[in-house]
Point group: C2
């Protein structure tokens, strides 16, 4: 925790000389949150150019949306990551991708986002601009539109540079009913790729570790991969992205919701060597570390093969692997098996090793 009050590590905020829209100020003022002239300027010069679309541009207090028939998915996430910029991404990428991923894990197509900013007085407008550029790029990649937003400013010391909340809406047909409660004994557990990249990128950056440059966050929108998976099989039982709390949290949630056991083969879990090394240096289990571009899916054995094959054809699923299965033994618990066949309970982390990781 000792590093929390030091100055932002700006090494990843390079490029801050990029042309920023003209304004009388170069940092956030309390009046930017007043609802008055500076609020209007912040919207027209910073937010609107990045997110412009025919719904947002009406500048009403709410967006009016047309959605395809069927049900909809709704999710929210707030991002307080420290530092704001890290190898592989920024709080801007996380704010878009995190909510897109939560929305699409039930099989929905993410369509619309709201964005709520809490800005600290004194935040550089160039930093805000850089974050907004990342949000624009990520929203474009995910194919979602920001349609409504809000900005509050808190006094210097009352916040920490910038916090971003996003809420997302996705369209969902009437046939899919993904739920962790629907898991059955014998189902296979599939992981889409390597573990712990995001969390260790942020930690390495924050701690100033020498190997930080070789570790990058995996933050990406997963809705493209999910589309391909649903095209290959409609038999998926449940999907979830293992963010905070890592794979351990997701698997425990699955086991508890289904009231069944999960048995995972530790030896097949993919972790990049440099990430494994960083975990060892910091004394952190990669299974407890946040990912921002990975998913876990559970499916019956005959569907699992089709799914893994489809995932291997997608850029974000090249390293997809079956990591274990659902068992009748130890309901509600997750067991890890090592290469000697020794079993160990995989529990939730009790404390907080990785504060403000997303």
């Amino acid at each position: 925790m000792k590093d929390h009050n030091r100055k932002e590590n700006w090494s990843y905020a390079c490029g801050l000389t990029c042309p920023v829209p003209l304004t009388d100020h170069d940092s956030v003022q309390l009046a930017h949150g007043s609802g008055g002239k500076l609020s209007a300027e912040l919207i027209s010069k910073f937010f609107q150019p990045r997110f412009s679309n025919n719904i947002l541009d009406r500048l009403e207090d709410q967006a009016v949306l047309e959605l395809p028939p069927g049900r909809l998915a709704f999710s929210t996430d707030t991002f307080v990551v420290d530092p704001l910029f890290f190898p592989g991404g920024s709080i801007g990428d996380l704010a878009i991708n995190g909510t897109v991923n939560d929305v699409c894990m039930c099989g929905a197509t993410p369509l619309y986002l709201s964005v709520g900013f809490v800005l600290e007085e004194g935040l550089s407008l160039a930093v805000l601009h850089r974050i907004l550029l990342d949000m624009e790029k990520s929203a474009g990649r995910a194919g979602v539109r920001v349609v409504t937003g809000d900005t509050k400013v808190v006094h210097r010391g009352g916040g920490d540079k910038v916090f971003i909340n996003t809420a997302g809406i996705g369209g969902l047909g009437d046939d899919l009913r993904l739920s962790a409660a629907s898991l059955r004994v014998g189902d296979k557990i599939i992981l889409s790729g390597t573990l712990a990249d995001h969390g260790m990128a942020v930690m390495a950056c924050r701690q100033g570790l020498s190997f930080q440059a070789s570790i990058a966050s995996d933050t990406v929108p997963l809705n493209g991969l999910v589309n391909e998976m649903l095209r290959a099989s409609r038999g998926i039982r449940a999907m979830r992205d293992p963010t905070r709390g890592g794979l351990a949290a997701t698997l425990n949630e699955f086991a508890r919701s289904a009231n069944l056991g999960l048995m995972v083969d530790r030896e097949v879990l993919p972790v990049r060597p440099e990430v494994a090394g960083a975990c060892e240096v910091l004394g952190i289990d990669p299974l407890h570390v946040a990912n921002e571009g990975k998913l876990v899916a559970v499916a019956p054995p005959e569907e699992a093969d089709k799914l893994v094959a489809a995932m291997h054809k997608h850029a974000l699923g090249r390293e997809a692997v079956v990591i274990g299965e659902v068992v009748e033994a130890h309901p509600g618990l997750v067991a890890l098996k090592n290469n000697l066949g020794v079993l160990q309970v995989l529990d939730l982390p009790m404390g907080e090793q990785l504060p403000r990781i997303c």
Copy 2:
């Protein structure tokens, strides 16, 4: 600004001895935001009992919703009010009512909310509990359900006790097209009640003014009033709730969107005497002060009479009054007329007199 760093004024947080769910901690720990055991405990002991419903209780990463056919309205707001508790309400009430009101101003029926918390390490769990009780009560009053949520914890000094984001979804039929751009010359401007109650309640509380007890926030959900108005007339052009920036900001937004002038009679604007007194003491124009339970509607003259009559029958519209009209002169500008007939331009506030009012 001098008061921002002093300790919370707890005089309105009395009743903190109310029974709080059993927990090993009496304040927020970093681990409450870890995604691990304490996160799960916070959800099961604090959030779920307050907001429980069959959608939220699935505890998936997203809510799956069925909506009535037609379009939907979507809005978001973040609340950073200081102090957390003030006469007439709390950040909990604001977080529900603020988004309910933004959603219903287009004529939609608010149905579902997401909630995102940013908690500061060390926040008393009793205070959080009290805020959640207020949210539960306000959501019940508004008839909306919290269906998805997220909690982040920032280190001590990295936030200010608690910030709350809500996003809301409402159902909207296919016929209503309320928009500030649809205003026409001759339309009447209706205000639902007294001005500046919310902002002055917070300011008086914050400044420790002796008259603070006699001023209370007007925070309420306005969807019931909107329902009655729509039942009386489908001819409303536009509605908006004059929150941050006050009536001045709302009227200026209307004038600019319509590219028409607005002429408002200063003498008919309702302001409670004690609120007017507080404004005078603090040198603040009540037209620039936030309201949290008032709305401004614009309608053709023949509809305006029906609307005002319907509003007078509703508890939240008893003091509804026509305050002016849309004119051809001075497009994009709002003119205030006093009892001598003197005109004055009503502009947006340039600076920030009332930081963290909502």
